[in-house]
């Protein structure tokens, strides 16, 4: 009995002490946690680190803003671009009740695997890089939003554009994750509509090393173009092995290879590779100059990469919403769902009833002299250089 009362007295004392200390710091802002999840290690880590830095930039700028109501802390998790690791990372972020919202995932296979987790924990998220349509359209979860576009639009543009250049036959290599399968499906559908012919389709594992058998088969079929639906690491391998086997078809990629890491990996063999991505290049975005300046000022080790601006916009949208609604998951979720015509550095953000931002603009890219160049600005468009097998 004595001990209990002693404990109670201690607890009482502690409570008084605590309340006293908190009244001392009445002018300090409340701390609010926000999350970021992306691939920080593994083959596509360049994109993940670029995204992480960009989200970090949004948080830093907000914390410097004297008008901000809260002080934000960024919780970063690595999903390694692997669905099983991604679910663990998502659970860690979502289970922390202090995290109000998160900007999540570059890899589609991971993003689609984690939507259930976010829904279960009621954590509002804004996807910043994954392009698989089903992430937003495959469910009715109110927690999931996305600022970047889906792969449907980029493949529509890709099929039409390539046919207009006069290419007739394709071979498809895609990875067998949801990401690669999605690209294969939407590109094949659209190519058929535009009258192109697919001679063969090869589904490959996402960490396959050897493509010589597939590529020799492709060499035999002799298509005009090899369409590659996958991410940077195996994209580099396919391109390198094409050269070793003397395959001279044009290499056409998707948004998954639009990264500085791809150019670094492919080296000289990158010249004249085409790829498509939703949204304008970072420098040409409405707030692109502002973003790149601020990014440069923070002296990050890595470039923001292709989706950095989207990660920044996703985090900024989250911070804006928390400022307005307070650090409450439910209120933030409801407010995010109602986002319409919100200004951001990637242009206006409006979510439809699935939380999907409508990005109509697709940019066509070609690698020219070791840089992803917008097609219209390239020497390939002006006719000075020619793509492989262009007539």
């Amino acid at each position: 009995m004595k001990r209990v009362s002693l404990l109670a007295a201690l607890a009482f004392g502690a409570t008084i002490a605590l309340s006293a200390s908190s009244s001392d710091t009445v002018f300090a802002k409340d701390k609010v946690k926000v999350g970021f999840v992306g691939p920080l290690t593994g083959g596509v880590s360049a994109n993940g680190i670029g995204g992480r830095n960009s989200a970090d930039l949004a948080v830093r700028l907000r914390n410097k803003d004297p008008k901000a109501k809260y002080e934000y802390e960024l919780i970063v998790q690595d999903d390694e671009c692997k669905p099983n690791i991604g679910v663990q990372a998502a659970t860690k972020v979502a289970a922390d009740k202090k995290v109000v919202a998160a900007a999540t995932h570059y890899c589609s296979a991971v993003a689609i695997a984690t939507v259930d987790t976010y829904h279960k924990f009621g954590l509002p998220v804004v996807v910043w890089g994954a392009v698989l349509p089903a992430i937003t359209y495959g469910n009715d979860y109110k927690e999931v939003h996305r600022v970047n576009g889906t792969m449907i639009n980029q493949n529509q543009t890709a099929a039409k554009f390539m046919r207009d250049l006069g290419y007739k036959t394709w071979a498809v290599i895609h990875d067998t994750t949801d990401y690669g399968k999605g690209h294969n499906k939407f590109f094949s559908e659209n190519l058929k509509k535009n009258g192109g012919e697919i001679l063969a389709t090869f589904g490959v594992t996402a960490d396959q090393q050897d493509f010589t058998a597939e590529l020799t088969k492709i060499k035999e079929l002799n298509p005009d173009v090899i369409y590659f639906g996958g991410l940077t690491p195996i994209g580099v391998r396919v391109r390198a092995q094409m050269d070793k086997l003397g395959v001279d078809s044009l290499f056409q990629g998707t948004s998954g290879i639009v990264s500085d890491a791809f150019i670094k990996g492919a080296g000289d063999l990158g010249e004249g590779i085409v790829a498509f991505r939703e949204g304008a290049p970072t420098a040409k975005l409405p707030g692109g100059k502002f973003f790149l300046e601020k990014y440069g000022a923070e002296k990050y080790d890595n470039p923001p990469e292709a989706y950095g601006a989207f990660a920044f916009a996703a985090m900024n949208l989250i911070l804006d919403t928390i400022e307005k609604e307070g650090p409450d998951r439910k209120k933030v979720r409801a407010a995010l769902n109602g986002t319409k015509g919100r200004d951001s550095i990637v242009g206006e953000i409006s979510f439809d009833d699935h939380g999907q931002n409508t990005v109509a603009l697709i940019t066509k890219y070609v690698i020219q002299d070791g840089k992803w160049t917008v097609w219209e600005d390239s020497e390939y468009a002006s006719g000075k250089r020619k793509l492989a097998r262009q007539k």
């Binding site: 083959g43 594992t205 050897d210 058998a213 020799t216 060499k219 580099v236 003397g246």
Partner: protein, 306 residues
């Protein structure tokens, strides 16, 4: 089918088969002398490839840029280092638990493999990312119709054959080889005949690990890329190749390696399903062969079932 394409498929398969065979020979050697299965073999290969890459970067930093000197030093350093690593593993991990059930060795080396793999991932700078491997061999190529014959592939194939033939000669024509074979056949008798048992085991593990390092370098030069997880699948394939050929028999391991590469190529090209299933197909056929000939295609003279 056009003869050029056939030659191309054959060349692709030979390159793969050579890498698999080199790994499989290691498994067979270890099983031969100690009747153990060392599952860290694939990851030892990874460490070998990374040691080679680190040596190359060191040479670049030191200003030595002649490709012939570079490749020579890279190969020597990597093989010597990994041979030493193999001997250390044998001395500290495999030999002490020799009288324990074989399952213990299998499990402990499986765990050692994970340690090696994660060590490369964590301690090599940016180790989680694929690392570009330099093309140190001349890349000239000869186009014969539809067949693209590359000089570096030819050099690697010839070097691989030389290494395997060399290993074979070492085992069959030298005193050291005689001692290894004696230990493999009957440890007790070999000891009474004056063979230094421990030394022979260490040499055998060094030899097998050196072969793995060679295979790792070959893999790096062929694909111009290495990553921390590459040993996992190569280890599994090498092990299956050794088993299907007949564990303990060096010819069996070589046969198994090329058989596996051939199956993969057929799985990717000639069968009507996604080429992602080529490994499923290859391993499936291996299982079928194992059911048909449990002791392997070429049996050890005194066969032991695993």
């Amino acid at each position: 089918m056009d003869i050029g394409f056939l030659a191309q498929y054959l060349m692709n398969g030979l390159m793969l088969g050579m890498i698999y065979a080199l790994v499989a020979v290691g498994f067979t050697l270890f099983f031969g002398v100690l009747d153990v299965i060392k599952f860290s073999h694939g990851d030892v290969l990874t460490v070998g490839a990374f040691a080679g890459l680190a040596t190359f970067l060191g040479l670049e930093a030191a200003g030595i840029s002649h490709p012939a000197i570079q490749i020579l030093i890279v190969v020597i350093v990597s093989i010597v280092l990994i041979a030493a690593l193999g001997a250390v593993i044998a001395r500290t991990i495999v030999l002490p638990i020799r009288s324990a059930p074989p399952l213990n060795t299998l499990l402990i080396t499986l765990m050692l493999g994970t340690v090696l793999r994660e060590a490369v991932r964590l301690f090599y700078p940016q180790g989680a990312n694929p690392q570009p491997f330099p093309a140190l061999l001349p890349t000239n190529s000869l186009t014969l119709g539809n067949f693209n014959l590359r000089l570096d592939n030819v050099i690697m194939l010839v070097a691989g054959v030389a290494v395997i033939v060399g290993t074979q000669l070492l085992l069959n024509r030298t005193k050291l080889g005689l001692a290894i074979r004696a230990v493999a056949q009957d440890e007790e008798t070999a000891r009474t005949m004056g063979v230094n048992f421990t030394l022979i085991v260490l040499i055998t593990f060094a030899l097998g690990s050196g072969l793995a390092a060679f295979a790792g370098l070959m893999n790096g030069l062929y694909y111009n890329e290495i990553n921390f997880g590459m040993g996992l699948l190569l280890g599994a394939i090498g092990f299956s190749s050794a088993i299907v050929g007949g564990l303990g028999n060096i010819y069996g391991a070589i046969l198994g390696g090329f058989l596996f590469a051939g199956l993969q190529t057929i799985g990717a090209v000639a069968l009507p399903f996604a080429s992602a299933y080529k490994d499923v197909f290859a391993f499936g056929v291996i299982i079928a062969i194992m059911a048909w000939r449990p002791t392997g295609l070429i049996q050890e003279k005194i066969s032991e079932r695993v």
